[in-house]
Amino acid sequence: MKKIGLFLGCNIPFNRPDVEYSIRYLLNELGVEIVELEGATCCPAFGSMPSLDVVGWATASAWNLTIAEEKGVDIITGCGSCYGSLNEAKYHMDKHPEIKEQVNKILSTVGKEYKGTSKVWNVINYLYEEIGLDNLKAKIKYNLNGLKCAVQTGCHNLWPSKAYPTNEDNTFNPTRMREICEALGGVAPHYSTITDCCGMGALRSQASAKSLALFKKKLDVIKEEIDPDVCITGCNSCLMQFDAGQALLIEQKKLNYKIPALHIAQLVAIALGADVEKATALATIPLNGVITKIKGGN
Amino acid sequence: MSKPKLAYYLAGGCGGCDMSIVDLSEALVDVAMALDIVFWAPTVADAKYKDLEAMPSGSIDVGLFSGNVRNSEHEHIAKVMRDKCKVLIAFGICAALGGIKSLVNLHTTEELMETAYIYTYSTDNPEKILPQTSYVVDSKYELTLPKLMDARTLDQVVKVDYYIGGCPPHHEHVAKAVTALLSGQLPPAGSWITMGKAVCEVCDKNPVLKGQPKEFAKTVKRVYEGVPDSEKCLMEQGYLCLGPVTQGDCGSKCPSVDIPCRGCGGPIPGVKDFGLRAVSAVASMLENEELVDQIPDPVHLFYRYTLAGSFLGKRIKR
């Protein structure tokens, strides 16, 4: 039986625990044993330790990586930032032995050692490579019935590609999420701004209006080019922008349409029969239409 | 030996050509002595058409026809002259190529009539009466006027033996021509009696004659737009001078007083259409394309004296 360490980070467990629920659900359904990474912390987020120095960043990440290493498992995360920060820290340490040495010097004071044996996955790549689309297809309970999905892989899931153990063939034309949606019975057309940043992150906290304007630009293109039933994100931060951010735009009367949004983990979980109430518990934009379309087909 | 007989006729012209003969001054005496002037109408001698008509065919040695053929009367006399004269000469640029007065061919006869007799400010003609070729007074006396036509060159009406350019021909050139005529040293029939070279060859301003190359014109100017440098070629200064294209029998009289040549001498032998050669030469001498657009009114400039004798002869009706 497959085993994997579930790395939660901060935003998922505290802001969108429904995504945590969904990841847990889908891993269970797909027969993957979840290994809890007790004592795991923030990845750390780019605005924290990474903005202080490389060693501090690597040390904070290594703390988390060693937990998985000690349990002999790889790591999965549903958050792009966690995926990026952990992998980049790994990349720094694996490429520069002197950094790794400094990190381990610190870690040794608490009896830990970073070895570099655990890989860090995101949900997309784990489903695509470790589970496989055929296996996934075989397990679905609810077909998406042609649900039209606009996918948003998210910047950190793509770049910097050098730091990632596995990735899209062409990071400027990502297809893995589209293939997953289609494996579930949906349609996921390409659109021209598919790799554009959603605006969530530091920009959102430092210049909220500009961040939302950037997001609106992307959303308008999605609406115009493919007019989807739902937006599917590969990153929890993107989900927060697509869902709560969109709600803000609507509230500010800057948007005259709404498109519900789900994390890819939520969508897979629903298709695998998850409790919709729990799997979408924190969604701001109502998902009734989407759920009806999926469940109505059965 | 009898003196050669000469006839002179002024058709559609101003009489300037007659004046150029008078300008021969003392030489005129010799000319008059050497020739038997049998007809000179309408200016100098009191001659009647019927006298001319009565002369036997080929009885006159030389006929000088000046002015263009503008009406039925001119046409008639041209034919009579052709019949009576052994040698018929188109004398002056009007007879040879239409002259300045052939610019009328840019308009129709109707337009000209109406302008002249109805629409000019000084005309009071409320009934819009136009001259008629015939009018019967008191139901019995018929008065006639010649019929006005497009301006034509003499050779568009009858065969011409020789041409002399100029508006009018320069008297020195006339003297030379008459001398040649009297001595029988004439070029092949159909040619111009001319030195055969352009005004440039006799122009003091021509840098080529001083061993210097000619330079392109960098501007286009009309005479009132500046004061030319008397030492320099007018064309180089932008005053469009047709000296290169025009016979220089005048001795370059206009350029010598800073007036650009306007082409009254007519084209150099071998050139069929004065204006077209002028277009080619002048356009070639401009430094850039934009200058072409600055040339005002090309027809009046390049065909000032030769419109009737040009490739179209007149403006085409649309």
Binding site: - | C200, N206, P213, K214, P244, I268, S280, A281, S284, M285
Partner: protein, 666 residues
């Protein structure tokens, strides 16, 4: 009366497939002067050509029209055939009934057939008026003159000399070496300029086929391609070069001091001087206007100084040990016969005084060329970096690009080498003085050249500051002697200011003085910017409007050393290709002046793009004369001639009018 044969080609089905050959043949028989009409499946094949040849040999025809494909490819073949049969090769016209008829109107067979008839009619009308024309040949002098002894001229001379040709290398200065010898290092390889150039200078001087004529200028040019007679004025040197050993005694004892041009006046030389230490030939000259001997002679009628000749015996100072001083020296003239000429007179850099906004009066504002001398070990500071004003070592230097280049007030062109030499300067300085602060102001950085971009990035990594996007608007001298530079940084999107110790201006590359006169001497024209102009930018980049006169190096436009050398060797090859065969073919299809008709109006002379039309006395007046060796056969002059004195053989006005008549007839 002409006996015209018309030969209609089927070109397999290519023509016959669209044109009714039979109908065309029948029609052609009705044309005036046409006596024979034949058709054949492939007219260009041997049997096809034999048909034509046989009819000529049999005396049946004396003019030929081949109705077939395009004359661009097949005219030479049929001309050869006609000539082989004993007819003048220009008694042939082609009617292009394939490329411009059957192929283009394939689906309109009757249209194609009618058009074929008219095209043949047009060709017949033209060939009827054909005149016999003859290709002519002239002898070519197997020697070349190279004007300018800089790097371009030297390489051209060496290549030609190595091909066994006699070369005269004429240089204005006492020594060859040109601008390149003044440079410190060269980009992008950072070779020491003098180190790579001096061996070549020696090679030039010692080459048995090169006659080096320095301190001399071209005075008069006669003749034309293949046979130039060029008079060269060797300036009076006042030192007998046969005796001068280059020992330098005179240059040390001469009391007259003059600003040294070689170092742009930043130090002094004597009136008796050797241009620079590595000069080739290493000979001294006396600069008469500054020499006390001549000055006093002029003023008082008596020479006041003859130190170089006699020394100062009481002080134990000896005069010229070789007894070479020759105060009565005179300019000397030599006339040289050459087949071709290469002009390689290089460039000069623009003077800083034009740029009032950059405080040119400040000695600390220098041109890049002056800066080269400051950096050079043979320069006024012996290679030590010093502020000209006070001799201190500058800590901050600003470099300003495009000074006079890309500037409609001066030169609209890009001087091409400035970006790179600015980086070169920066690199030399940064490698020598790592703490120096260098600010390079560019409009934009242009580094098109092999290894140039790498050079730029490398230099940036040395910590050189690149400010892009804004021209510097002002350099002002502050009370403390420093220079305030004001510019705009487009990357910062802000005006910027800098206080610098020195400012280096990358002034534009200009044509050297006298380029226009030189061009006029050789009938080679200058472009709008004053550089000598190549005859065709793409196809004939080293040829000038004057046949047999080639250009190399910066006299044609700004370029760097590799480009100059490449162009000079190309010019050498082009000149060699012209003179080595010893013969030159003059085109038959050219213009000719009937001088009896010429009115001396001069319209044609400036019109000719090849300067082939000259004025020459004929019957007491200057008339136009077209030199057949120079005429390229465009016909521009014939179209303009107001006296119709110019005939363009092969395409006469009568022939073209006859074609028009033929094509407009019903």
């Amino acid at each position: 009366m002409a006996k015209i044969g018309v030969y209609v080609c089927h070109c397999g089905e290519n023509i016959a497939g669209a044109v009714n050959i039979e109908e065309v043949v029948k029609y052609s028989q009705t044309l005036p002067d046409v006596v024979v009409v034949k058709n054949y499946v492939f007219m260009c094949s041997d049997p096809g050509q034999d048909l034509i040849k046989q009819d000529i040999k049999d005396g049946l025809v004396d003019r030929v029209v081949v109705a077939a494909c395009t004359p661009r490819t097949h005219e030479p073949i049929f001309r050869d055939a006609v000539e082989a049969a004993g007819l003048n090769r220009y008694f042939l016209e082609m009617a292009n009934i394939r490329d411009q008829d059957s192929w283009a109107h394939w689906h309109d067979k009757s249209g194609a057939t009618e058009k074929a008839k008219r095209l043949i009619k047009s060709a017949v009308a033209k060939v009827r008026l054909a005149e016999p024309l003859y290709d002519r040949y002239g002898d070519v002098e197997k020697s070349v003159m190279v004007v300018g002894g800089g790097v371009a001229g030297m390489f051209a001379a060496l290549d030609l000399a190595n091909m066994g040709l006699k070369v005269y290398l004429v240089e204005r200065q006492p020594s060859i070496g040109g601008n390149m010898i003044k440079l410190d290092k060269t980009f992008p390889t950072m070779d020491c300029s003098a180190c790579i150039l001096t061996p070549k200078m020696v090679e030039v001087a010692q080459h048995p086929n090169i006659e080096l004529i320095t301190y001399a200028e071209v005075d008069e040019v006669k003749g034309y391609v293949g046979n130039f007679d060029i008079r060269v004025r060797k300036k009076a040197r006042y030192i007998d070069w046969d005796k001068c050993t280059g020992c330098g005694v005179c240059t040390q004892i001469c009391p007259a001091r003059v600003p040294n041009e070689y170092n742009f006046g930043m130090d002094q030389r004597r009136a008796a001087y050797i241009e620079f230490p590595q000069a080739v030939p290493k000979k001294a000259v006396i600069d008469a206007p500054n020499c006390l001997y001549f000055k006093s002679l002029k003023k008082t009628g008596k020479p006041a100084c003859e130190i170089c000749k006699k020394g100062i015996p009481p002080k134990g100072i000896q005069g010229c040990p070789a007894d070479a001083i020759k105060f009565d020296d005179k300019d000397e003239y030599v006339t040289l016969k050459v087949g071709a000429v290469i002009l390689a007179t290089g460039y000069k850099v623009m003077d800083k005084t034009h740029f009032k906004e950059y405080s040119p009066h400040s000695p600390d504002v220098v041109t890049a060329m002056e800066f080269e001398r400051i950096l050079s070990a043979t320069g006024p500071t012996e290679g030590e970096l010093k502020r000209p004003s006070d001799g201190t070592k500058p800590k901050t230097i600003a470099f300003i690009s495009c000074v006079g280049s890309r500037d409609e007030r001066y030169h609209s062109y890009c001087s091409k080498v400035c970006c790179m030499y600015m980086f070169k300067h920066a690199r030399i300085l940064k490698e020598k003085y790592p703490d120096i602060k260098l600010y390079l102001f560019f409009i934009d950085v242009r580094t098109a050249g092999k290894d140039f971009e790498e050079f730029y990035v490398y230099t940036k990594q040395l910590g050189v500051k690149v400010i892009r996007g804004g021209r510097v608007s002002a350099v002002d001298v502050k009370p403390n002697g420093k220079l305030r530079v004001r510019g705009f940084d487009v990357d910062l999107c802000s005006p910027v200011e800098l206080e610098a110790d020195m400012v280096v201006l990358a002034t534009a590359i200009e044509p050297p003085e006298g380029t226009e006169e030189l061009g006029r001497l050789f009938a080679a024209t200058c472009g709008r910017e004053g550089f000598l102009r190549e005859v065709h930018t793409k196809l004939y980049p080293v040829e000038t409007a004057a046949k047999g006169v080639f250009i190399a190096g910066c006299v044609q436009g700004p370029k760097d050393i590799p480009e100059s050398i490449a162009q000079s060797r190309a010019a050498a090859a082009a000149a060699a290709a012209l003179v080595i065969p010893g013969k030159i073919k003059f085109e038959a299809i050219i213009s000719e002046v009937d001088r009896d008709k010429c009115s001396s109006c001069g319209v044609c002379v400036p019109l000719c793009p090849y300067n082939a039309i000259r004025l020459e006395e004929y019957k007491g007046k200057d008339k136009a004369k077209i030199e057949p060796a120079l005429c390229a056969g465009c016909g521009v002059c014939a179209s303009a001639c107001p006296s119709r004195a110019i005939v363009f053989h092969g395409y006469t006005t009568e022939q073209i009018l006859a074609q028009i008549e033929a094509l407009t007839e019903v």
